[in-house]
Subunit: 352 residues, 2 copies
């Protein structure tokens, strides 16, 4: 078991049965609750249940998917905690992807003004992204994570073995954040990632800690997203808008799929505004389209995208904020772009 | 203007036009929102509006009363902030009593993971109680403040002049917390309060800071309600249950009215379990019934009260937790009482 010690909590990487047993032994709690969705209940819960038997855990199940990351599902979680007379000194174990972790963490942090929680991220996305940063929340009025707060879990337990429970599409989605970490901070990591063509055979036990180290460095320098941490938003201003909009259609995108599109658009903006070399733009575009294919963005939807960007919580005042790349492996925050430049970036993607 | 400096934020006591102007000048914000209900919009808003003109504040109005302190109203507040494109660096000014402060503070703290807020408590209850402690939240499933969090406002501005906007009943309600502070911590304050028979002519500019000082001392010793702070729960275990239950009837009680009943019941428990002298029990009972009159508690409702106590967030594990008085001016926390003792306390009140 490998441990990445953040300032505020530990991330244990390795077999979950072992890390979970050790973590629970180290802290007292009155009752143990486990939050899962129908998928993690079926595929992940059996792998941790034996380690929990002794604690008589109460399982709370919610429907899977971003469309359920809302107040109604939160009310169900709070209602179940209430029904089982949970007190503030109970512990909630969030077993699942980003939706489970973000929403379960939010529900726990606001239940009786704060019960503790433990994250067991089971998707690549949540392992490399949500596991650092303490950002919790739910979607509201089509805007992702617009209701939420910052709060630390007791610990995060990452087991790369859970990745075999994911579909190819989910694995690829999480990989977008791995790519992003390399693009904003580590040219050599970006170069080595470009050698990976089969995600199933990738060395996750090596890739995950390396990717987490980048995020750790950025987040610890800016725990409340005052400035530097915006580096992590590369690809996310446009990506979030595309994701939010697609959520309302018959063909929703996974987070990483939308972020892959956002990274291409924002790499284009980077070339226009920050001098990202054309050759690097092409490398980014080639690698991402080879991994993620190409969605068709409808120009009729552009106004909706722009409107969603206007409500993006990363903005200051009314300007639309971007984090852009002056070159691969470097990032500048607090850049802005107007409607015409954003439209050009969406068209660039569409014309690939 | 008098200032009580807490560890984490200042409480300014004096004319609000002045304290508000000074406070706003000291901090940058992108947009100013004011949360009010129909009463404070009519009676309190005109007193602060001139000081805010320059900032073009956006008024968000919600219906008054504890019955609206719920998720639905929160959604309205979040929706209004979203509709006006509020960013995380906007400021929310909560103008009203405890409902406005608790819910507005909760809505702000969770909007885009935390915008700042300023409290202008306009009721005696919120001035002496909610203004210290950073406890924010809403009611859920009939349980008061069961969803919420701890978070500090930028400042609290108390103007005793607002008390003339209150009904006699509201003024009396807030006074229950003043009485509580004296009973748990300051015998001489309790003795001097017993001289007050006409609340309208009381010296609030003197009473409020004295009462706040008691709360300040207790809360700063225990900011997250781990132990000592439970001292403030005297009267609240039974009081909250009575309040929560009455909320569902045609004759809801104000918070302080319920707490006055709770203090009598828990003073009785104090005599039974902690040796509170009979004479002091009688003084408490006499003064409270003279001020608050006597409600009739229906024995048919006792099971509902007990059930609500079972879901009270101050409990640890499944025991029902009380803070009791060994004598007037002193308190012991983490006492427990069983169903039969609680029933005896409710009967004691009913038989007065």
């Amino acid at each position: 078991m490998q441990t990445l010690a953040l300032d505020t909590y530990p991330i244990h990487i390795g077999p979950v049965a072992k890390s979970l047993t050790l973590t629970l032994e180290q802290q007292p709690f009155s009752q143990l609750f486990v939050l899962a969705d129908e998928n993690t209940r079926e595929h992940c819960w059996p792998r941790i249940a034996p380690a929990l038997e002794h604690y008589q855990p109460i399982l709370i199940e919610i429907p899977s998917g971003e469309t359920h990351k809302n107040l109604r599902t939160c009310e169900h979680i709070w209602g179940q905690l209430m029904a089982h007379k949970a007190t503030r000194d109970a512990l909630l174990l969030n077993l699942g992807g980003g939706v489970i972790g973000d929403m379960g963490g939010f529900a726990a942090s606001t239940f009786k003004r704060g019960m503790r929680f433990l994250q067991i991220p089971t998707t690549l996305l949540s392992q490399v992204d949500a596991s650092i940063g303490s950002k919790l929340g739910i979607d509201f009025m089509q805007v992702k994570n617009s209701i939420g707060l910052f709060r630390n879990p007791q610990a995060v337990l990452i087991d790369p073995a859970f990745l075999d429970t994911l579909s190819d599409r989910e694995l690829r989605s999480g990989y977008a954040e791995v790519i992003k970490h390399s693009l904003i901070a580590d040219l050599s990591q970006w170069e080595s990632l470009q050698q990976i063509t089969d995600l199933r055979s990738a060395d996750w036990a090596g890739i995950i800690p390396a990717s987490l180290s980048i995020k750790k460095q950025i987040v610890e320098a800016d725990p409340f997203e005052k400035g530097l941490r915006k580096a992590l938003n590369f690809g996310h201003t446009i990506g979030h808008a595309i994701e939010g909009h697609a959520l309302e259609t018959d063909t929703p995108l996974l987070h990483g799929e939308a972020i892959a599109i956002g990274m291409i658009c924002e790499a284009f903006l980077s070339t226009q505004q920050q001098g990202l070399p054309e050759a690097q733009l092409r490398q980014i575009t080639d690698y991402l389209t080879a991994r993620y294919g190409k969605a068709a963005l409808r120009p009729d939807d552009y106004p909706a995208y722009l409107q969603l960007m206007g409500n993006d919580k990363k903005n200051e005042g009314q300007a639309i904020n971007f984090s852009l790349l002056p070159e691969a492996g470097k990032v500048v925050v607090n850049q802005t772009a107007g409607k015409s430049h954003i439209t050009a970036a969406l068209n660039f993607y569409n014309n690939l």
